[in-house]
């Protein structure tokens, strides 16, 4: 059974790690900020975040689910996990 504990903190840490690879700082990102619009991660890194999310929390997402409403912010990702985890 995948561990979903401190999912918010783990997602935030992963975003910071991906942002760092692009030379960007994610420390000011709020939990409800839309990540793509913030410019912290680009499309390729957003895809890396989703793939990591699936592996980290043991969930499987359909292509149609890759929307702003499901993965646009840290809060939305945590909500998705509550619904599907």
């Amino acid at each position: 059974m995948p561990d979903h504990g401190d999912s918010k903190g783990r997602i935030r840490a992963k975003i910071a790690e991906l942002a760092k690879e692009l030379g960007r700082n994610a420390s000011r990102l709020q939990d409800n900020d839309l990540i793509p619009q913030s410019g912290i991660l680009d499309s390729a890194e957003m895809m890396s975040l989703v793939v990591w999310f699936e592996e980290e929390f043991g969930v499987s997402t359909e292509a149609e689910e890759l929307t702003l409403d499901n993965f646009g912010s840290i809060d939305l990702m945590v909500d998705y996990l509550k619904r599907h985890g």
Partner: protein, 370 residues
Amino acid sequence: MPHAVHIPRVNNNDDEVRLVRVFVRDGESIKPGQQLAEIETDKASIPVEAERGGFVLRVLQTDDSMVRVGSVLAWIGETIDEAIPGRDEPAADRPKVSTAEPTAKAKAMLLEHGLRVEDVPAQGERLTVDDVLAYLKSRSEGPKTPVATTPTPSSPASAGPSAAGRLEPLSMEARGMMRSVLWHRDEAAAAYLEIEYDPQPWEEHARAFAEERRMLGNPLLPLMAHRLVVIARDHARLNSTIVDGQRFVYEHINLGFTIQVQDNLYLVVVPRAEEMDPPALIKALDQLHRKAIGHKLTPEDMRGATLGFSSMARWQASRHIPILPPYVSMIVAHTVSKDGRSVLGATYDHRVLSGGDAVFVLNWLAQPLD
């Protein structure tokens, strides 16, 4: 480069074995460890497995036949269209390539000379120093001063670089890239040109497209790639190549699209892209991207591109001149430089397209369909 799978020795006294059955056919994609055939002697029956993945170029033996130990069972290539070396040579007469375990001294000597086990024929069950010495002699390369202590970087062969270093095997991705580079250099008449364009119409189009569908990623590049497919659908010459001095017009448009994942650059391929609308193409590329990130791409996912699209905007390169993938007439190079210049370039095969053709495509591509 193709490699041969040989009939292994099962028993010391048996120079021939019975090939019970071959499980693969010419052109088939295979995975490492996949069983290729079954052989047997009076005492044992064993599988012959693939050491590496790739494609079966040619099966040289038939079911239920007696075959000599060391003869070639099949040729395996990294891609399906590789030429079989010395294919006119009778397979059974080809030198026996070793899969034998090297002795410790032989292993050190292989390392010293930058050789692989499979490069050197073994006379016995194990690969010995004598085998390596005989191989070096056959290549007119005398043995170098033995290294008595820990392995050190090898001195390169005479045709190699003059500085000391060591040989490392290339990854599947790197081998694929090398093949593209060689085709680009040796066969295509590669040329490059570029235009600057106003990015605003495209950016607005992509923004509206994404907002309407609540998309997570920016669809700009897939939308531009789709536009390229539409142009190629209406201009078949763009989707063609040269084969045996004649134009070969592809039946379908297989879109090659570059994806960088960590250190690897992949050219993933969306087959029959002309049958897709923009959302379908975006979905197909997303799926390939996810597979690439998870290191789950198969050779099929990267095979058969007939047209290419690549962007270096992420790295803000002011110009990039892509290598033509084999048998592709054009690969479009998109970028946005640090000073905000938006550039559409194209590496194209001048045997297939003129500079005017390339500019025509880029000017069309600079405008969103709407």
